[in-house]
Structures are given as structure tokens and as C-alpha cells.
Symmetry: C3
Subunit: 339 residues, 3 copies
């Protein structure tokens, strides 16, 4: 079994030893779950009280951490304990699974599709006519790539992903299982007898380094494209409607829903369960706090929260007043009685 | 490359030319993304300020639109610019993908299943015993049709759809990828040592012209049926629990959740992220605004919003007061001080 | 067609006949949908007014039910009408579908995988290298079991489920269609030019008798495990982020989202659309009401609701005051005017 000493860990992580430099660990764990054979880390000040009681022999801590390590244990002081911890996690990680180049004999690849030799196409995957897959990509088992899709290099589609006709993915795009790229936008002309479907003939374009989590839905555009720009990361169970445009390097956290034609700037963070209305414009670097209901436009750089979403400070003031509301009612009662 | 002139567009859309009748376009785009070779449209008054700055040579506008088109550009005046635009979108749309009749050699179709000759069964699809597929239907690659399911004519199941045993779909039902029809309802008898599963032996019935988006879950009934009536359209990532009944021609927008045994009338609109509690009755033509939490019954025709959902007007008044709450606290402070 | 009389039903359900003991039914239905040939039940006091108008010949009611059954109909008095009804539902349920032992010829099972003879592996399922499946399990058509996964005995994976590498499932674990176990946790080191992915090298562990609904996402841990303990039931479209720990026998209702590293005790109920923030601790036996936004820790045994979630009683008081807020504003107006 692989083992690392305090000294080795300090070297690997570029950290400083504080305490017993002969501690030895053979794995990693969270503070509360750790055994004496583990290394752990303090990544969130909330967990500071867990460091001393933890059984972990070695803990990676930030520079200002106190108190000293007790006898037989050791702190490794690092500027960014979480990043340092990731380095040690990698040391003990199981070997990465290799999906070797080649088309599995059960995969169905149309003759007109272009699949370079170094691409992995998993069992039961389907690649339709005129699709192009970039070099070095991995198409997971059971995944479906529709007619005329274009995938860049080194894309990674996990098993059971669906990418429908004509969608375009850049390089290094990652899509997790059960996600759907290019389902029809939700567009109908309402009628009294029945609703008429508005053809959704556009595409979805995912630029370089976009990552989609599992069970994500990205609808194709009514015309033109639904577009997620480079470096944006999308968590699980997110809904992205037709003709939405999301800028570069955004974080779209789990269960967010973005309605049709909304335009989101660069470096935006939409926290979990946020809703964004249709035809809304959100400026660069906006942060929408968890569950915010963004029904209207938001200026660049704002932090917003609440329903409807308003600037964070205002929202907090409202929430604080709301807490005091029962008391306020009593005070008004008293004033009316002339007390 | 296909091209259309102002005159041709006016003819096709039954619109009126206002401006240069010799403009020529070779594609469609949104106002802000348009190049001079594009036609665009004003479908939402919010975008009115974008019409003049747009580079689009031709813009479809409503009858009351002002100002006039500048030189070298052209407005097409139409009663319903969005519908007229769809007609032109169709002119430039790529040819529809044809899924030709026949069962793909890799599909697994039970001998007892009835699949007419004009049905398309995609690669790796599975059709279990005693299932019946209606004429003209398309079963996407990797889709699963359980034992004894009955699908009507001209249904369209996109790739990787799951329809479980004994569910019944009408004619022209559309189901998008990764959606599940007939997973077990969430029913358990709670116990101290363990919870006992309540058998879910009913079915799901989707009537004619129902459309389900991607990643939708419709649970089978505990007994009888979970039932979505004719013409109702369901967006992505929607949860429909066991024994729910949804009326005709409803719009159930993305990420809505409807708890068990609730009954929803005809022509209801549930906007994005709405939640409906269990055993709730919602009358015909109700509109629940985005994120409404409908914990109780709603009379026909009402517009409701908020949490818990209340009539829209009341909700707006509350929200307005809430905004003024910090100020109200100060005013009560002042009154108490006798100012 | 199978028929049961009042007397037979009383015997089977251990109930007491009140009314006509010669009634005969040939099926079950909800009170409002029932025909004279049906048995129905009163499982929720809300439906009490539906019992008399119902056409059901026989209705299972609780001990205190009034009035008496009219001529030609019959009540069956049972301590737990819903449980008694389930027994009769089972009498009329279609025969359960048998997925017979054996590996379908189209399934792709790695030579190194261990699959006992009594396991059912459906069409087009994929079982990767070094995976172990427990005796008596059913792997649905199109499902994917990743490298080194371990499944216990009598597990049931419905069609099109994805379980990714190295995840561990106990005995009798049920996973419904389109759910994903082991997608990557959403972890990135934010950068100005691009975000760097934090490797997610942990696993997901689902203990005995866990059930996951359809379209559920459970992310693998950054390190260690995302862990759902024995007997917990998870509904559809739920998001469970990396390193979350959920205790025993919880109910996690549809569309709940639980952010990273949160720890949930035993016997917890999270109702529909609840959100739980990251690094939150929820004590044993907590109930979070529908749509609650649990951003902070919750003491054991509490009922919480609202956004942010607060104790139920406090939340109801706030909601009540909120309703009276427009009136309160008027009263303060009046006080200021000296009325």
C-alpha cells in the first residue's frame, strides 16, 4: 500500500511542516471520517473545530491556523489547503479508466460519419449520418450523436448521452450521462382546439471547455442557435431553453432553469435552483444567490437574491424586517391603543 | 444559396411591404445578431429599440410599428410577426431528417410485439412482449418500450426514451430524449425499522397530441392511471407524480413538479418551476405564475402566484408592501418616539 | 373476470362489514372515477364528501366514518384504509412482469465482470470490467454498469440507468430509468482565463434498500464517498451533490436539491422542491416542508419551512403577518395622520 510521510507531503504540495515530520499516511478523508492513517484538510473555516478532534495524522491548514499540532500529529501549512489536498487526493486516486481507441463492434456508426481512429466509441453507441467527431474524443456506451453533429477534439461524452441532429460542440466539451443536447424548444402557437407546434429548426452550440452535468436539458433554438460559450460549467438537472445565450466561464449550478431567449454575460454565477425568466438580460459577473427568481434584467456586477430577485443587500434588509414583522404588528396594535 | 426578396416575403407571409421592395435576404436571425443578408422580426415589444439599429435588411413588424424603414431596408407588416417569421424560418430550414420505415437490425423486438411495416425502430431500441406500436410511429435509437405498451399512430419517441410496461399513448404523442413514462409512484408505508413499498400497479396514459420534453418523469399510478389529456404540452425536467390527472391543452413549463393525485383542469398554464402539492384541484384556465407554490385548490380562471400561491393581484400588493417594509419599520419607530 | 364480494374483502383485509354483505366488485378505482363494479377507499379526510356520491359499491373507510352505507352499498371498516386498499389493489393487479435469468445476447458483459447465473441482464445493457453483480439482481435493458462497480443481491435497475465506475450498491437497491449514479461532482478552481476541474475520484455508496426514482443525479465524491444510507427513498429528479451523506430511512421527495458535503440525519423528510445548501448539517427526524430553502444547520426533530427555512410555527406566523401587510401599511398611514 502506498504511503506518504509529512516530509513528502510538504514537498509535493509546496507546503510547510508544523509538527511531527515523521507522520505517515496511506489515504485521505474528511476531518470527521478520518482514521490515524489519513491525511485531511481544512478547506472551510466552518470546520475549524473539527481539526483537533480529528484522528487524521496530518491535516493541511491555512497559514493563520492555530493551535499547534499535538504530539504525533502534523499540520502542513499551505496557501490554498483545498488545492494542496487535491494534489494528495490524486496520489491515492485509483488509476484512471482508459477507454481505448476504436469503435466497439456493437456501435452503429453511419458510413458517412467521420470518426478518427483515436476516438473511442462505446458499446451500443449510435452515430448518425454526416456526423463528425474530433480526434481524441470519447463517446460513451449507449450515447446517441445525431445527423450532421460536429464534435471538436478531445470531447468526452459519458454513457447514455443524447446529442441531437446538427448540434455543434467545440473542443474538450464534457457531457455527463442522461443529458440531452438539442431537444426541441418549447414553442407553440396556442389554439382553442389545439396548439400548433412552432418548428424548432435551430441548433445548440457548446463552445470549447463547456461541461454539462447529468440529466441536463439544452433545447435547440427556434432558429439560429442556443449557445453556451467557452469555459462555462453547468451542473446537474439544469434547464436551458431555446435561443438562450450564456457567456464565457459561467457557473450554472444544479437545478437552475433559464427560460427562452435570455442572454447571460460572462463570468456569471447562477447558484442552485435559480430561475431566470424569458427574454431577460443578465450582465457580466452577476451572482444570483440560491433560489433567486430573476424575472428582469440585471446590471453587470450585481449580486441578487430573493423572489423577485433584488440586490443582495436590499434582499437581506427585507428578510430581516420580515423576521420582525410579527413584532411590528404588535407594536402597531399598541400604538393604536395609545399605549 | 436560396434568396428571397421583400416582395416574395410579403407574398409568402401575406404581409405588406413598407420600404424598399427590392431587399434580398438569404437567412434569418434575431435582431441583434442579424447581418444585412438576414430577415428578422419584432415578436416582443421589449425588443422595439433593437429594430432600427439591427443590420437585418428586412424586419417583420406589427401593424402599429413606427418609424418608417430607413433607405435600403424594408419592414413587412404582419398581424402576427412571430407566426409570419416562422413561415420564413421554414423556408431556410435544413431538410427534415427522415427516419425511414423499418426495424434496425440491432433493435430487439419481441415476437409478440406488433409493429406495422411503416414504423421506424431505431438502432438498439427494445420493444418488449405484447407491445403494440401504431402506424407511422418513430421509435428513436436506444428507446425502450415495455411489456404490453400501446402506442397510437404517428407517435415520435426521440432517442433514449423509456416507456415502461403497460403504458398507453394516443396518436401523435411526442416524447423527447431521456424522459421516463411509467416509473413507480413514490409510495411507501413508513416504518420504524424500514419503509414498505406500496405496489404501483397502475399505468400512465398520454392522450392524443401530448408532447413531453426531455428528462421528464411521469410516474405510473398506484392503481388506475396517471393521465395527461389530449393536446397538453409538457416542457423539460417536469415531475408528474402518481395518479395526477392533467386536462386538455395545458402548458406545463420546465421544472414544474406536481405531487400525487392532484387534478388539473383544461387549458391550465403552470409556468416554470411551479410546485403543486398533493391532492390539489386546479380549475380550468388557471394560470400559475413562475415559481408559484400551489398548496391548495384554485378556482377556475384565476391567475395565482407566490408561496403559497394567492391571486395575482393580492400577491403583487404583498410584494409591493414587502419592498416598503424597511421603511415601514422606521415609520413605526418614529411613531413610538412620538415624532 | 375476477370478482370479490363484501365478505371476501372483509376477510382479506381483516376489516369489518358495514352495509350490504353481498356487494360484488371486479376492480378498484378512486372515489370520483369509480363505477358500481368498483371498490374504492377513503385515504385522506379531504375526500370524505366524495364517499356518498361515489358510485363504488364498496368503500374502505376508517373506524369513525359516518354516515352508514346506503342500500345496496357497503363500507369495509379498516384501521388503515389505505393499507387495506393496497391489499385489494394487489388482488386485481396484472401479473408482475418476470425478467428471466440470463444475459441477453445483445448485452455486452466484460469477461472480468462477475454475474451470477440467476441475474437478468437486459438487451443492450453494458457491464464493464471488474464489475460484480449480486445474485438475483435485474439489470434493465440499455443500462450501464461501470468498471469495478459492486452491486448487492436482488438489486433492480430499470432500463436506461447509468451507474458509473467503482460505485457500490447494497442489497435490494432499486434505481429507476434515466437516473445517474456517479456523475462527477461539480468542483472547479475558478480562474480568470478558465476554470480548472478538481478531480472527482471518490465514489457513490447506496446502502441496502435504497430506492432512487427516475432522472435522479447522484454525484460521486471529490474523495471518499457520497453516501445514502439504508432504507432511504429518493423520488424523481433529485440532485444529490458530491460528498453528501444522507442517513437511514429518509424520504427525499421529487426535485429536491442537496448541495455538496451536506450531512443529513436519519428519518429526515425533505418535501418536494426543497433546497439544501452546501456544508449544512440536518439533524435526525427533521421535516423540511415543500420548497423550504435550508441554508443553515437544523436541530434534530424540527419542522422547518420557508426561505430561508425557519421553524414551522415561526414561518406560519410570518406568512400570516405578510397577508395582513397591506392592511398594516394603511394603519400606519392612519396613525401618522393622527387618526
Amino acid at each position: 500500500m502506498k504511503k506518504l510521510t509529512s516530509t513528502q507531503i510538504a514537498e509535493i504540495t509546496d507546503g510547510t511542516i508544523a509538527g511531527d515530520d515523521s507522520c505517515t499516511i496511506s489515504g485521505v478523508a474528511a476531518l470527521q471520517e478520518a482514521e490515524p492513517c489519513h491525511l485531511s484538510f481544512l478547506g472551510n473555516t466552518k470546520y475549524k473545530p473539527q481539526v483537533l478532534p480529528s484522528l487524521a495524522a496530518i491535516v493541511i491548514v491555512p497559514p493563520d491556523f492555530e493551535p499547534d499540532a499535538p504530539e504525533g500529529r502534523c499540520w502542513i501549512i499551505a496557501e490554498n489547503p483545498s488545492a494542496a489536498f487535491s494534489i494528495i487526493v490524486a496520489e491515492f486516486a485509483p488509476p484512471e479508466i482508459v477507454f481505448s481507441a476504436g469503435i466497439h463492434p456493437t456501435a452503429v456508426v453511419d458510413n458517412s460519419a467521420r470518426v478518427p481512429e483515436d476516438v473511442h466509441v462505446g458499446a451500443h453507441a449510435v452515430i448518425e449520418a454526416d456526423a463528425k467527431i474530433g480526434a481524441g474524443s470519447t463517446i460513451g456506451a449507449g450515447s446517441y450523436i445525431g445527423h450532421g453533429c460536429v464534435l471538436g477534439e478531445n470531447c468526452r461524452l459519458h454513457p447514455n448521452v443524447t446529442v441531437l441532429a446538427r448540434c455543434v460542440l467545440g473542443n474538450r466539451v464534457v457531457v455527463h450521462s442522461s443529458s440531452v443536447v438539442g431537444s426541441d424548444g418549447f414553442g407553440f402557437i396556442p389554439g382553442v382546439q389545439s396548439h400548433e407546434k412552432i418548428p424548432q429548426v435551430g441548433i445548440v452550440q457548446l463552445d470549447n471547455d463547456v461541461e454539462l452535468g447529468s440529466n441536463v436539458s439544452v433545447d435547440r433554438a427556434r432558429f439560429g442557435r442556443t449557445w453556451i460559450k467557452a469555459g462555462t460549467k453547468v451542473d446537474n438537472l439544469v434547464q436551458i431553453a431555446h435561443n438562450v445565450v450564456i457567456g464565457e466561464r459561467c457557473f450554472i449550478v444544479a437545478q437552475v432553469g433559464i427560460a427562452g431567449s435570455s442572454v447571460i454575460g460572462d463570468n456569471v454565477i447562477l447558484a442552485g435552483q435559480v430561475g431566470v425568466g424569458g427574454h431577460v438580460t443578465i450582465g457580466d459577473s452577476v451572482v444570483a444567490l440560491g433560489r433567486a427568481a430573476v424575472w428582469g434584467d440585471v446590471e453587470p456586477g450585481l449580486q441578487v437574491g430573493g423572489e423577485p430577485a433584488i440586490p443582495r443587500r436590499e434582499m437581506l434588509r427585507q428578510k430581516a424586517c420580515l423576521k420582525r414583522l410579527p413584532d411590528l404588528v404588535k407594536r402597531v396594535d399598541a400604538l393604536e391603543k395609545g399605549e
